[in-house]
Symmetry: C2
Subunit: 520 residues, 2 copies
């Protein structure tokens, strides 16, 4: 399916002029985008919870679904679908017999391909694969010089460009920051356009209203062709459950819109433990499991076989202030268990991210991000939203944080390759060449391997103290500030067929013209 779609996509955008083709090739050769389209893991998952423990969590989720149930508020179509599938529906409340929801999920694919504008950048989501996607949803942006301010469409485009330039981000993301300078009911058009125009990586569509989701899909039809979109996943929608145990009509309406178009939905229980779920992690994990499976089940009732991702967003909270906390150990443990549960359910999983409560890209921010990212890696997460840029509990998108996070994503690429244990890796010839007490620097083995031996994080300082001092004692935040500016200065847009560009612009103009501006 992916291959044929990719072929067709190439037909759609192929440029017949040899001169322009050569120009495009030259641009491609200059392009700094050198990383893999996605990661194929070669390390095992971390099996934190025993099989017995996982069965206990699943049983608790079944108890919740049978005894408490989940409400679909204001969405008669969702209720009709669940009733027709044999669930017990009473008002907005839907209850399920044990095993029923999981059976409804069984038609969802274990893995699927999201086709990108550049077919070499299409991503496989599920199985042994991992896709890193930028942070999502911040109303504010921050950089070292400019401080914190509301996000604008220029910031949005900047982050799309930075994500395009990173070899370690596989995905362009969605609402990479809120472009607050554009009306609420129109900004999705500019956001989708920015993803399509300034990047060629796969991306996410609007989820703030079913008609905005439909617009996002329609723009994909213009780009990819309607028949391709009907057969192929080209866009993702990230749906937050109104936890605890509620889907409102916007969320379930958006979910149904994407599923009906055969596009992927990420179903994300959004739980701040103690508020939208119990204060004890096991209870929130079971609740999230129930909520996620019911959402995936709905996608399958709308269109069996539609791609869906079992999502999860859990955080802990400060018991002094009630504020959410990130990078703490309880969610870390939960992420790993969530990965195990999703695997047992046979679904791709979104969990984790480079999360932090810190306002700036300081030690706290990077530590908390490391501590919320590594559990997702250990969990076998297939799609990791918020992989770069997140600050301030998601309220702010940081330019410096973005490039620092990208550096670490590069390291995770290497980590996920695992240890090579072949003849070359064991280097017996080098031991024979050196013997006790002699250094390995000049050995034939070192010479043959040093270029690929170690990941070297570009922003990390490992210079001598004296060199670092003489170069101005710059910390990682200052180095990152220089880095993102350099990257943006060197950015070149990937080519886009002018006819498609015009068609997209015409669609946007028509849709914008048909709606009065709404600012909240």
């Amino acid at each position: 399916m992916a291959a044929s779609a990719a072929r067709r996509r190439r037909e759609v955008t192929e440029n017949p002029s040899p001169a322009r083709r050569a120009g495009r090739r030259a641009r491609r050769e200059r392009a700094p985008v050198t990383g893999p389209a996605y990661i194929t893991r070669r390390i095992p998952t971390y099996e934190l919870v025993s099989e017995e423990g996982l069965a206990l969590i699943e049983a608790q989720a079944e108890r919740i679904l049978k005894e408490i149930g989940i409400e679909f508020r204001g969405d008669e179509e969702a209720l009709r679908l669940f009733k027709a599938a044999g669930a017990e529906v009473s008002g907005p409340r839907v209850r399920f017999e044990p095993g029923q929801v999981r059976a409804l999920c069984s038609t969802a694919p274990r893995q699927f391909t999201q086709v990108a504008r550049n077919p070499a950048r299409s991503v496989v989501i599920g199985g042994d694969h991992t896709v890193f996607s930028p942070a999502y949803g911040a109303p504010f942006v921050r950089d070292l010089e400019g401080g914190r301010r509301y996000g604008a469409i220029e910031d949005f485009a900047n982050f799309v460009k930075l994500a395009y330039l990173s070899p370690w981000l596989h995905h362009s993301g969605g609402t990479i920051c809120e472009p607050v300078d554009i009306p609420v009911n129109k900004r999705h058009l500019d956001m989708v356009y920015a993803h399509l125009r300034w990047s060629d990586k796969a991306f996410m569509g609007s989820v703030t209203a079913p008609e905005r989701a439909a617009d996002s899909i329609e723009m994909c039809r213009i780009l990819f062709g309607a028949d391709v979109v009907d057969e192929t996943c080209v866009i993702l929608g990230n749906i937050n459950v109104n936890s605890p145990l509620v889907y409102d009509d916007v969320m379930s309406g958006v979910l149904r819109t994407y599923a009906a178009a055969n596009q992927a939905t990420i179903v994300v229980p959004f739980i701040l433990g103690g508020a939208m779920g119990p204060v004890t992690p096991a209870g929130t994990i079971a609740q999230a499991h129930a909520e996620a499976l019911v959402g995936v089940a709905l996608t399958q009732l709308v269109r069996p076989g539609a791609p869906a991702i079992y999502g999860n967003f859990l955080s802990s909270m400060s018991l002094r202030s009630g504020a959410p906390t990130f990078g703490t150990p309880e969610p870390a443990l939960a992420y790993i268990a969530v990965g195990q549960l999703a695997r047992r359910a046979g679904l791709p999983v979104r969990v984790g991210g480079a999360l932090t409560a810190s306002k700036v890209a300081d030690g706290q921010a990077l530590q908390e991000s490391a501590d919320s990212m590594m559990p997702a890696i250990l969990a076998g997460a297939n799609f990791i939203l918020h992989s770069a840029g997140w600050l301030e509990g998601g309220l702010s998108m940081g330019y410096e944080k973005f490039v620092l996070d990208c550096d670490r994503l590069g390291m995770l690429h290497v980590f996920m390759k695992g240890l090579a244990l072949d003849e070359n890796a064991f280097a017996m010839a080098a031991f024979r060449e050196t013997g006790p007490g002699a250094h390995f620097l000049g050995t034939a083995h070192t010479m043959a391997n040093y270029e690929t031996a170690y990941y070297e994080p570009p922003l990390a300082d490992c210079k001598s103290f004296e060199q670092w001092r003489d170069e101005g004692e710059k910390d990682s935040l200052q180095r990152a500030s220089e880095r993102w500016r350099e990257l943006l200065a060197g950015y070149e847009a990937p080519a886009l067929d002018p006819g498609i560009d015009e068609a997209l612009k015409a669609f946007i103009a028509r849709r914008k013209g048909s709606l009065p501006d709404m600012w909240h």
Copy 2:
């Protein structure tokens, strides 16, 4: 053994005066030292490398030991012991048949207790237990106001006090920084005294010369009693192998000194990949395995049953500059494999630490520390040196870094407890109380659990943006600067029997008087 030693130790230091006993109790009640003496893991280890892969690494280590061998330079006694044990000795070179070294290690205990001055603070090293110990060996210290400077005995005492005050450090460490203001050949006396006087946690002795190791042990005899020391581990010595494949006479001499006194040796291959070992991780792991086992074997030849720790210090290097790098993925993978190998060998393992190449406690520093600490946790590390304070590849000990690292150690305590999966954790009553859409904040379950529900890192900011801004926009480095000063200001020394204190001082004066000052 530990219990009887602890009993005896109490006899040694028991204070018969009821008034002074009450005073001591009051001090103890005020003491902020509330953490556990050590961690008992309730999470599984991460099995990165398959059984087949581990067997390959072991086979490569055996090949190195048989074909290349290891040199003990200038230590006739070590050579004599190995020859008597059946090894092939030729000049300083010792070669072993496959299986021979491992068999020699078989008398080393799988776990042992290091008795602390405060018996409630004795640590169990090995098995399912983990002990966090401060960073070790930096010639420089750094704080935010004072910048970087040579370490002094006052800094040394400050860090011993900070480690004593942390609920999350189980150990007082060793050369917590170099007291450069004291002659090289005498500073071990002041260092051991500082550990004994300003802390009551377990600690490490000198390894810079066999006679200094002997002095360290002698001071323990004064404190604990000679018979206790002969039966019980009360001090650790950390021996770095002169990798590749060499022990010099100082290192092996110190090792024999500790082992002969029934004290613990940590045997640490110290490998910067590409320099002191191959540039490919598998080769360095196999080399380190060979080097560590041979050192442990020597402890057992000196005194069968003497406690020993299978240590490891691996780092990657910058291929631009040759400088060591930390927190990179290759050592992270290696640490996990090292944990697996040590478990198979039945030995306690030291690996990992909060390592970084950064000069300051910035984002790089905390991220790299997180990324070199978590693999050690996953590896099942039993003793983690460099758990707090390390900066600049070990050249500098940071005050702010120290308290930031301690905060994260607190988080790791929670992580290593794993997920509770009992009736209370599943919180079914809370779901019944709330139902869909209702918040959990006021439920009986939340009320009953909120005080212990989430770890709250004291230095992490999770305030609202406005509150953070109005309080001066402090980053984690600035908050840490305030924190360590507050901690030191509130420090109170644990009580020490005045007679023992006098005896220690007299010993130090006698030893110092017997030696001319040496400054290098």
